[in-house]
Symmetry: C2
Amino acid sequence: MKDIALDLGLSVVTVSKALRAHPDIAEATRRRVLERVAELGYQPNLMARSLVTGQTWTIGLIVPDLLHPFFAGIAKAISNDIRGHGYGLLISSSDEDPDAERQQIRHLLARQVDVIVLASTQTTTDGLREIERRGTPCILLDRRFAGAQAHFVGNDDEAVGALATAHLIAQGCRRIGHLRGPEVSTAAGRLSGFRQALADHGLAAAPEHVMALGPSGDHRGEEAGYEAARQLLAMTPRVDGLFCYNDPSALGAMRAVLEAGLRVPDDIAIIGCGNLSYADFLRVPLSSVDQGAGAIGQRVAQLAISLAGNKKAALPLHVDLVPPRLVARASTIRFPRG
Amino acid sequence: MKDIALDLGLSVVTVSKALRAHPDIAEATRRRVLERVAELGYQPNLMARSLVTGQTWTIGLIVPDLLHPFFAGIAKAISNDIRGHGYGLLISSSDEDPDAERQQIRHLLARQVDVIVLASTQTTTDGLREIERRGTPCILLDRRFAGAQAHFVGNDDEAVGALATAHLIAQGCRRIGHLRGPEVSTAAGRLSGFRQALADHGLAAAPEHVMALGPSGDHRGEEAGYEAARQLLAMTPRVDGLFCYNDPSALGAMRAVLEAGLRVPDDIAIIGCGNLSYADFLRVPLSSVDQGAGAIGQRVAQLAISLAGNKKAALPLHVDLVPPRLVARASTIRFPRG
DNA sequence: GTGAAAGCGCTAACAA
DNA sequence: TTGTTAGCGCTTTCAC
């Protein structure tokens, strides 16, 4: 295409420089070039440029499920925030499948992305080896790993658990249960925050009041929550407050409680996590902890951009814990003054 | 990297061919090469390859809002379906902003994507000119345009409207209203299907029973639906069935109806469109028309892959109308057998 | 079956 | 201020 631009009697180099506003180019020539470029609607081939500069202006994102509002929200925020900086976002959904995820990682690496952003479904840190070996900066999202040579942006999950639990305590709950999630950092953090908040108020959870939701994760969360809550209701003494790993499980738990002829929040107050968009419209609007997907996405975008710029000097590992926000609705509000 | 592979005493060419399972390469050499490649964890640079082959194995996707479950579902399905074929998905959210969308189009073009998939927010077909000029195949998604030189995959919106309306009629509604959406093909199609279904049953909508939701689109759909429904309730005679452009507006409408002391579905049956995931958990579970985002995504993926292969011989314009599916819930079911 | 030469579209050094 | 020479990492003829 530059050949075509040579009908200005210039060399390819000059045009190239003019296009990138290189300092040592005459204002007049630059004008002529830009004008002709506009006429022809010419656009430089970014691939070719990348091949020589080594920067692709591409950020790779791998999430377990694009349909999940949390990840979709993050993806949207990243997309919006990098747009103005000239970056593109290569997204793939790993479908909660560790093998697919590894394949995606290799794929992104082959495409020479500048940064990889990864909400991993792996259980080990092995999958990251290849990324490290290539020297590609990596940002872990949401789920944390112990010895990973990667940056991290996600929620402060202990704060999530503590926030929800403290709220239940403030609403007068004293026998608080927890439906805990799978064996990933988020679930562990929320459980730990739960325990911490109880301890801070001189309380403790009865062991049988902490139920695991099973490996279903968010998939069949409603059913898992329903089942777990039914078991929990059979315990004596009964819980009077329940913090659920996520909103779907909280929904299921609420169904179980209502079916048992109990009232929410009077008999049992229920709070979830995720603040899904339907929370307002339920039979009993669901209290929840908002994770701030938008904020997470913004911070990821900002970090990714700075990493993409500094390909050589690896920045020190950055850990960014986004604070959660409590959204109290009818399912927990027992005292109007709250 | 190939240089490194030259420690096998082969030429770059041979390695290149071996990697791509070129026919005229000795099985023995191929083995040696692949072995060494595995040892080193070498991966060919896809950019460099693209530069010479002209195919980038990249599909560009632009949607108005990645957070919207309809588009997120499509994106997820596309991502999953192209994965195995070696394609990558470059996604961007235009945020319902036509200018941002045009910028994204140029960006994708500069990146030499093989196919552009676009759920456009444009009102005219001008934005597509550049795509055509470049000869990049284009698939329009969801929203249709009259004279566009592009393929189309989306819902059969007339069928959406007809399906919902026929269902209301079958449930005994006779004075059916419609909250219609903005001036895009989807809203027009649903309105037209609505009218057609009524006509097919010897009915017609009173003009004052068709209310526009205003330009809010899906954004503040709930409020828009609430407002529109309140106006509708003031009319005499009152509607006994209501087909809403989307689920959020149906939710708002339901709120208005319940607040007015009327029953759903006994006094007014309500159906939306989109089948959002919360529909099951509402005070009155909401009937809806499912658009089949997954199916749309699959068909897009399939079409995109075939287009990406045939860059030279432009395929005949393909129009793929995915049939909608009725999901009847409590908000419309008046006759248990219905 | 293998390799040498040429080039994809662009930019980095240096020279002019 | 502009142009020349190289070369990014790969694939394509087309000889050998």
